[in-house]
């Protein structure tokens, strides 16, 4: 019995940084339950990755390596991990809530006949049973869950919810290469190489100041107002996903998990609710300010300065006062 953390490799072959956040969650859980912590690394050719994981202060590393895992497929990963879980028989399995885990986690859980608690933000221990906290209703509510049923119990952790686990390079753990069998014919989905769309002109990553608009801007005609504020502040204009989905601004101005990650000195959010997929792209900003009519909007949880108000009243005031000064 153990707590097993499934580390993820990116298509470039590096560890996905969220792997070490999942390791922290696993370490907390293992500590509370008095269980050993182990780590699983999966991919087509693992190279030094298993050894790197073994230096992370775990008791064991399971290496799942197979040529058919070189390119990620849900069928391949699911089959390999089903076999691995059978061999390891862990009590809990922790995943980072990456796009890849979104793609195969629920399938794996179903294949092994278990539930899967996706996107947890923290774990509490009231008694013997760990309580998993998850945001619901777009962050407006939190929910406490317990996991019922037999081991293995599977859950994934939200990006940024746990600090990345510190490296402990002095205590290498044993590495076990697991023997798994994969059938090429059983992999039904055929992926091609990941690619980036031709880079646009907006380089938000080096912007000192960003004015970012969300659905609160309501109409594409109102973007001019935000643009005027951006010009007055010497800022780039950025947006949440729905604005780019609607084609109101080009995709290269989208901030968030599927867009750009920005770290400006000032990030001013206008009418953005602050969904986690947006927050991951901007919460590293030095100073965050937000204008939103809804006092309970999650953006105020990361904002240094919050204005509960109507952007159509506050932004013209900002413009007026900036002109006067």
């Amino acid at each position: 019995m153990s707590v097993l953390v499934v580390a993820e490799l990116t298509h470039a072959g590096d560890f996905h940084p969220m792997s070490w956040e999942a390791l922290t969650a696993g370490r907390e859980l293992a500590g509370q339950l008095g269980l050993p912590l182990s780590c699983l690394v999966i991919g087509g050719s693992l190279g030094d990755r298993s050894a790197e994981a073994a230096a992370r202060g775990v008791t064991q590393v399971a290496a799942v390596e197979h040529a058919l895992l070189s390119a990620y497929t849900a069928d391949g990963f699911c089959s390999a991990l089903t076999q691995a879980l059978g061999q390891i028989a862990p009590q809990y399995v922790v995943f980072p809530h990456t796009y890849q885990v979104r793609d195969y986690g629920p399938k794996l859980a179903t294949a092994v006949g278990r539930a899967f608690l996706s996107d947890c933000t923290s774990i509490r221990f009231d008694g013997a049973e760990p309580i998993f906290v998850k945001q619901v209703f777009q962050g407006k509510l939190s929910a406490d869950f317990t996991l019922a049923g037999d081991a293995p119990r599977l859950f994934s952790v939200q990006s940024g919810a746990f600090a990345a686990d510190a490296e402990r390079p002095d205590s290498p753990a044993p590495i076990h290469a697991l023997a798994i069998e994969l059938d090429e014919a059983a992999i039904r989905v055929h992926p091609t190489e990941p690619y980036r769309e031709a880079a646009g002109t907006a380089d938000l990553s080096s912007a000192e100041r960003i004015v970012s608009i969300g659905r609160g801007i309501k109409d594409p005609e109102n973007i001019a107002l935000a643009q005027r504020l951006a010009d007055a502040l010497g800022a780039e204009l950025a947006a949440s996903r729905p604005i780019c989905d609607s084609g109101w601004l080009p995709l290269d101005r989208q901030v968030g998990s599927s867009g750009q990650t920005v770290k400006p000195k000032l990030y001013l959010a206008l009418g953005i609710s602050g969904a986690i997929q947006h927050l991951v792209g901007m919460k590293g900003s030095e100073v965050i300010a937000a204008i939103n009519t809804d006092a309970s909007a999650p953006i105020f949880e990361v904002a240094d300065y919050g204005v509960v108000g109507d952007l159509f009243e506050v932004v013209p005031e900002l413009l007026k006062q900036l002109e006067q000064s």
Partner: protein, 256 residues
């Protein structure tokens, strides 16, 4: 070609959420509902394929008996039929395996070529139901799809990866896709469409009559307003006062 679209209704964006007396559910008696926004993109993709390939489009919801918002919406926009799997279980925080198991029983009878779901529900937000459903139906799947082409036998899709990366995938039909927002521009229902929808068939399947029982895996203990992580400064007053304070603060912080 037959396409089944899984659609859910969720509390409308500005609704105030009250937890139920026992703290483990929601009091939705005062709540207005709308179609789960991601599912509108899934529906639009199905309707687009219908326009191109003369497909039959079936919209399906697992919900309480009055959970017809999403289906009515779909029928008004051009779906051909609706299926409602009825049970109060789905009015609360139903776990994805329970929802998907019920959907799977009904969808299996339809033998569709393509099953579409949204990538995530705006209420419970598990982001799982589609993928679980694919596994239960034994179908290949792909998630976060932002472009979809088909020749009727295979799918060629574009999948969104993190941080601005994409990938193309080929998969055989029948298959299941979870659709990402922005893939298309969902159409609006016309008055004519809304009128026609009233005559379109809506099958009601009581959950109890389906062989779809699952033992609980995820148990909700409590729903509550989140505790704030970090308390920044709230700037109060009139818009002019708020603007003045904000500029002062930003200058003090030397970011202006």
């Amino acid at each position: 070609m037959k396409i089944v679209v899984c659609m859910k209704q969720t509390p409308s964006k500005d609704s105030i959420l009250r937890t139920s007396a026992d703290g483990a559910g929601l009091d939705l008696s005062q709540t207005e509902f709308e179609t789960n926004e991601p599912d509108s993109y899934a529906l639009e993709e199905a309707l687009r394929l219908k326009d191109e390939h003369s497909a039959e489009v079936v919209a399906i919801t697992a919900g309480a008996a009055n959970t017809t918002t999403a289906i009515r919406d779909a029928l008004a926009k051009g779906a051909d039929r609706g299926i409602l799997i009825e049970d109060d279980l789905f009015a609360g925080v139903a776990e994805p395996l329970a929802t998907a198991t019920a959907l799977a029983v009904a969808i299996r009878k339809e033998s569709p070529d393509l099953v579409l779901t949204g990538l995530q529900s705006d209420d419970v937000g598990f982001g799982q139901t589609g993928v679980v459903l694919a596994e239960l139906l034994g179908l290949p799947h792909a998630t976060l799809i932002v472009e979809l082409r088909t020749d009727g036998a295979t799918l060629d899709v574009k999948r969104e990866l993190e941080a601005g990366w994409f990938q193309r995938l080929q998969l055989p039909l029948p298959a299941l896709l979870t659709i990402q927002s922005g893939i298309n521009k969902p159409r609006y229902a016309t008055l004519m469409g809304i009128k026609k929808a009233k005559k379109k068939p809506l099958d009601r399947l009581p959950l109890g009559e389906l062989d779809a029982a699952v033992s609980p895996g995820l148990v909700v203990q409590r729903l509550y307003a989140p505790t704030k992580q970090k308390t920044g400064t709230l700037l109060t007053g009139t818009p002019a006062e708020q603007a003045a304070q904000l500029l002062t603060k930003l200058r003090e912080a030397k970011v202006l």
